[in-house]
Subunit: 388 residues, 4 copies
């Protein structure tokens, strides 16, 4: 079957990122662009960094890197992991697995704890793995493995890692800001403003513990004088210190507005509506007659919902129909999950239950054109609305 | 002497970048942020890339990298220069010298042709250097070495390199868009939208010849699966091809608007006003009683003017006074030129002769508070206005 | 019952106006504000006026007045209607009736043709009325009487007026741009950019026939030197002519972007999605178990849907619950229709069928908290999706 | 002589309004447009009105009318002045004279106190006039008569009016926000955000004393149900009260940002830079060899400078040359001052002394092409810089 060429602009971008931005962010992107050595800008940058620290509850001032979070992830892998390190990489999905490719070249050894991509890492599994690998100096994990929409139990796992003593490196790019994250027991948290904070993609945010800073500084191969350097940015937040290179001024203006908005609404309120939207989505999907990707509903992320593709439905055809006929853009799977699921993001400005209704309506409409499965739109919407 | 703490917002950012943006760009940054796999975005990206090719007169479709031009420079060094390469690095300033640090680790050998930082590379010097190093496979050069405001004679030098047969790698970050650049004889040109095109800093633009693509592909150490990879982006411009990672959507919207504006005004007209502004600035500086940094006026860039600091004047105090008392931000020197000169950018939206008047006025006003030198504001302004 | 105080910002403004704006318009509002005597602005204004003429298919250059359409309506009443005029005012709703208060003080006589507010004026009724009042020199009508969501058959009525010979003055504020309007037989059409064209409220647009211009000029009481003057603006669109007072520059920038967007999408496509959205809404409302306000579905406007309030439901409580609990703002009734109906706008950026789904979902959710009526959300959504 | 057709966009709009806006305002114009009956908007409107009251030091909540200040002026004339009123109109310029045309039709009688248009009303003159017209119930005055750039001594005149007991109606459109205004003794102050507050033109602001409210309410001819009604808006600022018609949402967003900016900088600091800029301009004009329009420098407004045209210079040719060749737009004279002077505005974002330098440079450059007068640019700039 040849999918139709989708070219119509959509009204609703319900993806796992980039998401559309909050209006406050779009307005802020148009602020005048200051010179990075202008003291007014340097003061702004310092205040922004300290605001970020306050919001994240980070013991150290977080680092902002000037590229979307894959830069943060690559830079941290190169900066933190050294030739003395034994890495335990927790793999519950495509992104966790992919991160191994960036971690292992830098490490003495890397082992992996793997679960099926529709399941999550449990504290017990992690305890066993660490017992088997007491030499582990770094445990790495993708918090919300976006290509499967599953979320690992971060706080419980952090406690296990902490008990062991390894550094815990967490990719929380697509969860942070949509769920509460306690940095206790997390040594490096990589995230970005472009998912649940509702900004465009272009920056990384790194919360780094004192231990992790020390570890990086002791790493003889940690990059310096490179876009991959984290160390170069250690003091860049201080007004009066030079930047290693020019920061992305407009994006920082956007981040500033996003943080103000996040605090004005209240983080708990933001997390609650992410959870409600995902609950509505999961209820609707199942009531419609479809299956969640996650083996158990508790594994599903509050910030995205992955839905198993019905037999015989091509994901490209499905997404094209959703866009062209219903004005809704959603995300495909990636790698092992490609053409096995589709994903609806509930991130930032789209984390309101009504967006679950929109996604379900478009999903049903498009599926109706592609399959004869008995799928109930009415039941889906009613369940979604009952669930929140 | 303790410089005053400068904290007042300025009205005029007359720096060598970031410069303030064209209003069209600031408006475009606020466009909705589309999902990178949305076919509408992919089509936009393809059109933008082809527009860039047309404007640059590039034989291949240029690559857009998702970080400010230092990313482009580092990525090109890592991607193009391989263990078989002999690099001749042309050094007429701080940035040219610094680039050697990124080039040499990848090369078999690197030699440098150096001139004083107030002079430029001449075709004769280059011919001699290539005669002495016939093994050179890559010649690298910074077109406009921003920390000294001097511009190398690109077309003449390109002819020399072409005659020799080496690849010519050019950093034209702070000149491109403000002066005409013919890509004939240039194998990799690195630039960015954040100088003379009037965008915020966050993207790199790479025009790469077919030869240079082949060279990169033959380089066994060219990065793949990294933010430093150029090769990963070769086909990313084609709608339907995946991006190696998420592009900076908002910044691309800004670039699109900047290119439209550039073509609407007409490149020749844009270059002419850059040249006029610099001419006005040079005339004014000298009439005021100050000296240009450039040993000869012909060496000075049309996109920035470097002015020697008078004896005993502290550059920080000078720039603070310009900002606090006259609302004008300019740039300092860097490394060897730090505290020896100050720089006024004439880039994009500030490349109009009136900005030379503004800069001269603020410069005179601030200097009057810091030195007893006889400096004439009236003569400066009159000369500036007469020169354009 | 005390309605809860609604204070939560909504995600969806599905009102009969102000509607949220197209993103292109929001971007354009931030363009630099030019001086009204700047020739560049005057040329822009002329081009904008001529663009408007082309789009409207108007024989004369339309007039833009610098206030939201009530200004246009009041100014036209004062300018067109003189002491020799006999006005026949067609009243099918609150706004038509209200317009009589502005028309009658200026006229020799005013008579009214009235129908119930859930019905529309028919050509037969109009023919009878004109036969009874052959002296009528002006027929006035509200095209889409927004407070009841009913739309009069404009083209048929225009033919009747034309046959009689009176001037036809039409308020098409809330229909124009969402339905096709042929100006044949219409002497003054008043509209604004703030409904179906997706701009903020602040401007009026007046398409005026040559006959109507002559009539105004012959009116001894037509205002001059007043914000209520239409005549003062006759030549203001011509570059080089002065404006009677300063036009609203930013709003004109927004209108310009809105017109470009309208033409880029294609008026027919725009009208089609207005019609589809309204059809979806009407089907959904009825399938849910509610009643349309319009006595016949054919009377209902493609740009708004009015829904009868179920017995015992307070409209304020209903709208508060929709906003606070479901993030959707809709419109109340006005005057005679207040607390008897609620209204959902389908205008400009909200004229996509998915917005009917959103409105229905919020409506059902809120009603479920306020009444025990058996109302089916599933049936509503399925009917809405089936209807478009 | 045929002036060249000016069509090149300028970089600097140094007019008496519209002025370009503060960046904060341009950003705010792009905020989402809320429904006027959305309680969130109503709360915003109430807060904005109260913020305005606080900033103005007004005893009553000011009224915002939805049209540029000529609407405010016309509406106040129609609302305040009734058939029992005897108006004394103070005329020191074109705008003051013009206001008489709006005042007199409503009044029992109107008399005028006139001075030459390069002079101002003095307290003595006003005392005499009131002694001669003890029956005066309303004194009207244009604070800064923009077409001549002269400013009347408001506080002193207010004291005279107050001693007499008449109501004092003041047009401070082009002064308010650029100079301190004490509302003591002023019964109606009309201004707008589009001059010294740095917003686009589209709104009027009216500060009205309790006495003036009573006077309007007692006026049997005060408009109601009209865009010219002030009374209709008395309670519109209260959340929960309906608006007489739809307010200009985007413009109000801009005003809100402008007020926040004004308070963040500090009104005294704002006024000081208006005064400094005007002082620099006046010094420069005279040092160049030109004459101020104001008969005495003390009469000149801090918010605009009017310069007598040298003999034989055509104002259109002058302004065209300034725009086309120097990128600067300034204002012409009006009516009696047309072609006798040109005007440079120092309002809001252009009220920094550097803009005087810009204006002087362009003025000199253009005049040099149009006249052989010996005019010194150098002296002008030096004097301007020395004066601030």
């Amino acid at each position: 079957m040849t999918p139709p060429t989708p070219i119509k602009p959509a009204q609703f971008t319900l993806t796992t990122g980039p998401v559309n931005c909050y209006p406050e962010v779009l307005s802020a992107l148009g602020r005048p662009v200051l010179y990075d050595y202008d003291p007014v800008f340097q003061e702004f940058y310092e205040k922004l960094s300290l605001k970020l620290q306050r919001i994240m509850g980070a013991p150290q001032v977080p680092v902002i890197l000037q590229g979307e979070p894959v830069l943060g992830l690559e830079a941290v892998a190169a900066s933190l992991v050294g030739p003395q390190d034994h890495v335990l990489n927790l793999v519950s999905g495509v992104y966790g697995a992919a991160y191994g490719f960036w971690l292992s070249p830098h490490a003495a050894t890397m082992t992996e704890l793997r679960v099926e991509y529709d399941r999550v890492i449990t504290p017990d599994l992690l305890r066993e793995a660490l017992a088997a690998h007491p030499e582990a100096t770094i445990v790495a994990m993708c918090h919300h493995d976006t290509p499967s929409g599953t979320i690992n139990p971060l706080a419980e796992l952090a406690a296990v890692v902490q008990a062991h003593g390894a550094l815990f490196l967490v990719d929380s790019v697509s969860a942070y800001g949509g769920v509460g994250v306690d940095l206790e027991g997390i040594d490096v948290l990589v995230t970005g403003p472009n998912k649940c904070l509702g900004c465009p993609p272009a920056l990384s945010i790194l919360a780094i513990s004192a231990r992790a800073w020390d570890h990086m500084k002791a790493n003889p191969r940690a990059p310096r004088g490179s876009i991959l350097s984290v160390l170069d940015w250690e003091d860049a937040w201080k007004a009066g210190q030079p930047f290693p290179f020019t920061p992305s001024v407009a994006e920082l203006n956007g981040l500033d507005a996003a943080l103000d908005r996040y605090m004005a609404e209240g983080p708990e309120a933001v997390w609650a509506r992410h959870a409600q939207t995902a609950a509505a989505m999961r209820a609707g999907v199942q009531a419609m007659g479809l299956r969640l990707w996650a083996a158990e509903e508790a594994f599903a992320s509050p910030t995205a919902t992955a839905i198993r593709l019905p037999e015989g439905v091509d994901e490209t055809a499905l997404r094209s129909a959703m866009q062209n006929d219903f004005g809704v853009v959603i995300s495909s799977g990636r790698a092992e999950t490609f053409n096995r699921l589709v994903r609806v993001g509930h991130m930032g400005p789209t984390a309101y239950p009504m967006y679950a209704v929109i996604a379900l309506t478009a999903l049903h409409g498009a599926l109706s054109r592609l399959t004869d499965l008995p799928l109930s739109l009415g039941a889906a919407i009613e369940a979604a609305m009952a669930a929140q």
